[in-house]
């Protein structure tokens, strides 16, 4: 059934702010962000914030937020506005789509933080060895006996 669709928050941008810091909780981040918000809509989440507003205002706020703890605050764009019924956890009865991807990357953030701090410490001239370029390996095929075992396990 096709229906007329009237979008909310037209012309705005929404960004996620993730904080993975030993010295700042999402609650503290939200308080400090509110102080600098100047009309930008801020929603506190378990991992940080969602900020929504005019692109220029959001850019300014994000710049300000990053200064609170530069190596521990991470930002990315979000397509949906806050509380979008198609994405909001409240309507879906489970983790929001995309949450699990964030959870996966959240575990690696401490290495990125380390990288940012180390690069900052070593400065421009310090050489860092290049990471070894990934080699495309062929995944081993599923052994026929293993497949038979899987089928039998599934059936029993």
């Amino acid at each position: 059934m096709m229906a007329e669709y009237s979008p909310d928050y037209v012309g705005t941008v929404t960004r996620y702010v993730f904080v993975e810091s030993p010295s700042m909780t999402p609650g503290e981040l939200a308080l400090r962000a509110y102080e600098a918000s100047e009309g930008v809509l801020i929603k506190e989440t378990c991992f940080g914030l969602q900020v929504t507003g005019e692109p220029e205002s959001v850019d300014r706020l994000i710049e300000e937020i990053r200064t609170f703890d530069p190596a521990h605050i991470f930002v990315k764009d979000r397509g949906s506005p806050p509380g979008d019924p198609r994405r909001c956890r409240a309507n879906l009865g489970g983790a929001r789509p995309g949450y699990l991807g964030h959870e996966r990357e959240f575990r690696i953030l401490r290495y990125i933080t380390r990288g940012l701090e180390e690069l900052d410490r070593r400065g421009e001239e310090a050489g860092v060895p290049e990471p070894t370029p990934p080699v495309s390996e062929k995944k081993p095929l599923l052994d026929i006996k293993r497949l038979q075992e899987l089928i039998e396990t599934e059936e029993s």
Binding site: S6, K76, G79, L100, Y111, G115, E130
Partner: protein, 150 residues
């Protein structure tokens, strides 16, 4: 400031690092936002309308499943716009149904065919790799000062 396509297109880490080092990350959120904010006849709760698989014909043949063409309607214009790309090759979060999986393959193929500068690397598994990961991305992005031309 260069426009840098990121893969996985939803990656927080890549999106943050590209923006942090002064460039514009092109990820899935931009395409989704454009659709969500465009008024019209839609069929909520979907953002993809029946129009998308038609637009996707520019990037994939008609016999390719509509799921792939619909997704390419979002990613295709971003790939065309991109001046560089960063690809994480072992991103186990970039998995999904056949539609997502085949679209991912087509995205990587299109990026490699496009001739833009590409950085391929793996997610770090320890602190030293983290330093190398960030350094490699910074070096790559610093080389794109002239709008992505190397």
């Amino acid at each position: 400031m260069a426009k840098v396509f990121i893969y996985p297109a939803t990656s927080l880490i890549l999106s943050d690092l590209v923006a942090r080092f002064g460039h514009k990350p092109l990820g899935a959120a931009l395409g989704i936002r454009e659709r969500i904010q465009t008024a019209g006849v839609d069929s909520p709760p979907l953002q993809i309308t029946p129009e998308e698989p038609k637009r996707g014909l520019k990037y994939a043949a008609v016999e390719v499943p509509s799921g792939v063409r619909g997704r390419m309607a979002i990613y295709g214009p971003l790939i065309e716009e991109a001046e560089a790309a960063i690809i994480v090759t072992d991103a186990d979060l970039a998995f999904g149904c056949m539609g997502c999986a085949r679209t991912d393959e087509l995205i990587l193929f299109s990026l490699r065919q496009s001739g833009i500068p590409i950085l391929e690397l793996k997610y770090p598994a320890n602190e030293e790799e983290g330093v190398q990961f960030v350094a490699a991305i910074k070096k790559f992005l610093d080389g794109l000062e002239n709008g992505g031309e190397t």
